[in-house]
């Protein structure tokens, strides 16, 4: 009889794993708690246009999820936790879209590779007090063929010739599948100013078609990119790239299926998944030979915690006590310059260039701070504020009275004249940063919600200050009348969404030892090996780059091991497309 895999989550990791398993002839059921706003994902004749579009009100109404009333999360800091505070905030805590396609319905599809350094942080840079810095169980070379395969499937635009040598030394690669799209005016200004100061600002690798690819059209640069689903399917992603392949290979997608538990037998192996169908209050059981857990680093940890049972008394696979711990978000540093001229950053792909010098480790603060090395992260150039958001930004500034609202909207210093950069910094794993179940807050299905306990390490605060000042210098060199930056530590005070980013990782980390990790190098839970974790939960460290390409590549590797064995997985992926296989 065919093996039956139940895949929890239809985002970057789940869709990728589902495509591999369905292609290998498995029976695959994909469970997604949200709705489906794509059209024709399973139509062999081709995709239809989706429901996504340039509608800012819909975004403010939590389309396509998570709705903070329906699915809140709670948050507190580690010191509040020590004082016995149950939660200090309820609402949007780093929420990701809860919908078919997951986070790739809101991404602007920036897909840099991790560096060799990201896999070898402990051995190359050494430990930092108060953080649990480790190496990954495999290195860049093991993942490289998977990066190649995922980039080809997604259709990645980039420019090898403009990529600096220091990047290629850390992430060696061949040519990109396609050239970059047209550069945005604001990014060109930053690139030119950066060059004068010695920075190699270059085209950001992105899964956005600059030419037709995989049956999808070239991007028309409409500007509703970051935060919005692509209205023409020009952006690759979990749904249009991987879920579509899974469905065409016979996988079944069930939407509005809220997983409440993974059931296990006396030996600890998974036997079934318990699911609440649309608005029904009694769960149904779906038997499974294998469960692929890919609901995001916060939600996967929540499901594992909900799955405590006789063989897993403290949550699924929690022998180490590490389940839900070492939660990382990227530490956001936002820098902005106000230019005299309008930059029309609303045209284009939200961000199209990147500064990667900020991903290199530095040691200059070592003596002063007691932190032996610092590392920022990828600095995304560009981005725009949308119009309703702009109005709310000014309303939140204490020095802008509401009576001056229209003057600010007219002169638009923080939208049309804003040259913005966001650095997404390495966030060191700390044991006290964790996900557990909130003792009393529930979601609309009546299930305990995830509680995030999170604080920044001194490393992130210092790295943010260091690079915030540098980024500000570049903005001034570009001609900004005013320039400022908003460090990670301030972001955390002001915004309960920890760190102002939606990147998350590390709650079911991979590792060789069951005493200090939850999953092995192929994502299998040490004590429940027929549960494969296929999202960024397994990342041992957060990396200094946008995570999704790596989520997909690691999921592809883990699913290859599951379907074709470890020996094949060590060689590389098998083709996903019938034509490529033939």
């Amino acid at each position: 009889m065919r093996q039956h895999a139940v895949v929890i989550g239809s985002g970057a990791g789940g869709a990728t794993a589902a495509a591999v398993l369905a292609r290998a002839g498995w029976q695959v059921t994909i469970l997604e708690k949200g709705r489906n706003f794509f059209r024709g994902l399973d139509d062999p004749r081709g995709l239809s246009l989706p429901v996504f579009g340039g509608d800012e009100i819909r975004n403010h109404r939590f389309f396509p999820g998570m709705d903070t009333l329906a699915e809140p999360r709670t948050r507190r800091t580690p010191s509040e936790a020590e004082d016995g505070v149950e939660r200090s905030f309820t609402g949007d805590v780093n929420a990701l879209p809860a919908t078919v396609g997951g986070g790739t319905t809101h991404w602007d599809a920036k897909v840099p590779r991790f560096w060799k350094l990201d896999f070898e942080l402990a051995s190359r840079l050494g430990p930092i007090e108060g953080a649990d810095v480790v190496d990954w169980p495999f290195g860049y070379d093991a993942l490289s063929p998977y990066y190649d395969a995922v980039e080809r499937l997604l259709g990645v635009a980039g420019d090898l010739a403009q990529t600096p040598d220091f990047v290629l030394r850390e992430a060696p690669r061949g040519a990109y599948p396609m050239p970059p799209g047209p550069p945005m005016y604001n990014a060109l200004l930053f690139q030119e100013a950066g060059a004068r100061l010695g920075y190699r600002v270059h085209p950001f690798p992105e899964a956005i078609n600059s030419q037709p690819w995989d049956g999808r059209p070239a991007c028309h640069n409409c500007g509703y990119c970051s935060g919005y689903g692509c209205p023409i399917n020009a952006r690759g992603g979990a749904a249009v790239t991987f879920l579509r392949r899974a469905l065409l290979s016979g996988a079944r997608l069930v939407t509005r299926a809220m997983v409440t538990r993974i059931g296990t037998d006396a030996r600890g192996r998974a036997t079934h998944v318990e699911v609440l169908a649309t608005d029904r209050m009694t769960p149904t059981r779906i038997p499974a030979d294998v469960v692929v857990l890919a609901a995001s680093a916060v939600e996967s940890a929540r499901i594992a915690k909900l799955s405590a049972g006789p063989a897993h008394s403290d949550g699924l696979g929690n022998r180490s006590g590490r389940l839900g711990r070492t939660l990382c978000f990227h530490a956001s540093t936002f820098a902005a310059g106000v230019m005299p001229q309008r930059l029309h950053a609303y045209r284009g792909r939200s961000s199209c260039m990147v500064l990667m010098e900020s991903c290199q480790p530095i040691s200059r603060w070592a003596g002063l701070s007691g932190v032996p090395w610092l590392r920022g992260g990828v600095s995304e150039i560009g981005g725009t504020t949308y119009l309703i958001d702009e109005a709310l930004v000014y309303d939140g500034l204490p020095f802008v009275p509401r009576s001056q609202h229209k003057d600010w909207m007219r002169s638009s210093p923080l939208r049309d004249r804003m040259l913005g950069v966001q650095m997404l910094g390495e966030d060191l794993p700390q044991l006290a940063n964790r996900v557990d179940l909130d003792p009393s807050v529930r979601d609309v299905w009546g299930v305990p919600v995830a509680r995030v306990t999170y604080g920044l390490h001194r490393h992130e605060k210092l790295a943010s200050l260091h690079w915030g000042l540098k980024l500000r210098e570049i903005l001034l060199a570009a001609g900004a009348e005013h320039a400022f930056f908003y460090p990670a530590s301030l972001g955390l005070v002001e915004n309960p969404t920890a760190n102002n980013t939606r990147h998350m990782s590390g709650t079911l980390r991979m590792g060789a030892h069951p005493e200090t990790s939850v999953t092995d190098e192929f994502g299998r839970i040490h004590d429940a090996p027929n549960v494969v974790v296929a999202d960024s939960s397994v990342f041992p460290t957060a990396g200094a780059f946008n995570p999704t390409l790596t989520i997909m590549s690691v999921a592809l590797r883990s699913a290859t091991a599951l379907a074709h064995g470890e020996a094949q997985a060590r060689r590389g992926p098998l083709p996903l497309d019938p034509s490529a296989a033939a």
């Binding site: 996504f52 550069p183 001229q341 009576s403 060199a477």
Partner: protein, 256 residues
């Protein structure tokens, strides 16, 4: 001196408080009377006056404001969305074809499923003691937040100035709105956020009439499926060239 320049000067000199308030009262009174989808005629009158204070239009400001955009209509329709079918919660997509072309998909609102409806009825109508709406205990709905907030605004106006909120002079309204504390202050925050949605969001939701919120802000709105040409993306717009030259000069000056 043109009017806009005068307004700026007046604001900078903090003179704006002394401008007469009759213009606004007249504008509010001119707007249509009668109940809305949810709010009564009187509540709608107060809401109009509030929106006009948040985002004023002519003659207090040279560009159209919240009344011209029918922001009160947007907020009223949001509060009364469940009186309509299909429920105007999520506009359809992907294109409105505002830049020319085919059928406007934004105008066809998406069907809600059982969970959407339960969550949004709870948010709009409140939990009203219905067990399925109290997964985290009782919820005060937006309808109650608005009726209570508007009533409090009128009470406060009467107490301090013995006049309806719509009839306050500019300095009186400014004093009241800036000085608000507690629940009233919180309500004003909620109302401002909705006011921004109605002013600057897609017109299919009932606000931003004639796209007045997009014209004075130089915002193109949903520019699809046309998108932009490489030239429009990579180059400064012709009317901005002078400002761009100033930027390079600033940068050069900083370098030297």
């Amino acid at each position: 001196m043109d009017r806009r320049a005068f307004l700026r000067l007046a604001r900078d000199l903090a003179l704006v408080a002394w401008l007469p308030g009759e213009a606004l009262a007249t504008a509010v009174a001119r707007a249509r009377e009668g109940p809305g989808a949810f709010l009564s005629a009187a509540q709608l009158g107060t809401l109009r006056a509030l929106c006009a204070r948040f985002i004023p239009g002519p003659p207090d400001d040279p560009d159209p404001g919240a009344l011209e955009a029918d922001v009160p209509g947007y907020i009223d329709l949001m509060l009364g969305m469940f009186e309509r079918s299909p429920v105007p919660l999520f506009a359809g997509g992907p294109f409105s074809f505002r830049d020319g072309g085919g059928k406007n998909a934004f105008a066809e609102f998406l069907e809600l499923d059982a969970i959407d409806e339960r969550v949004w009825r709870t948010r709009i109508e409140g939990s009203r003691g219905i067990p399925e709406r109290e997964w985290n205990g009782p919820v005060v709905g937006l309808q109650e937040i608005y009726t209570t907030g508007l009533a409090q605004l009128e009470r406060t106006s009467q107490r301090f100035f013995r006049r309806d909120f719509a009839e306050l002079a500019n300095w009186q309204a400014e004093t009241l709105l800036r000085g608000a504390t507690g629940d009233l202050r919180e309500f004003l925050g909620v109302a401002f956020a909705h006011c921004a949605e109605g002013m600057y969001g897609p017109p299919e939701y009932g606000g931003n009439k004639n796209e007045v919120g997009w014209s004075y802000t130089h915002w193109p709105g949903d520019h699809q499926p046309g998108g932009y040409t490489p030239e429009q993306i990579s180059r400064v717009d012709p009317d901005q060239t002078e400002a761009a030259a100033r930027a390079s000069a600033t940068a050069r000056a900083r370098r030297s």
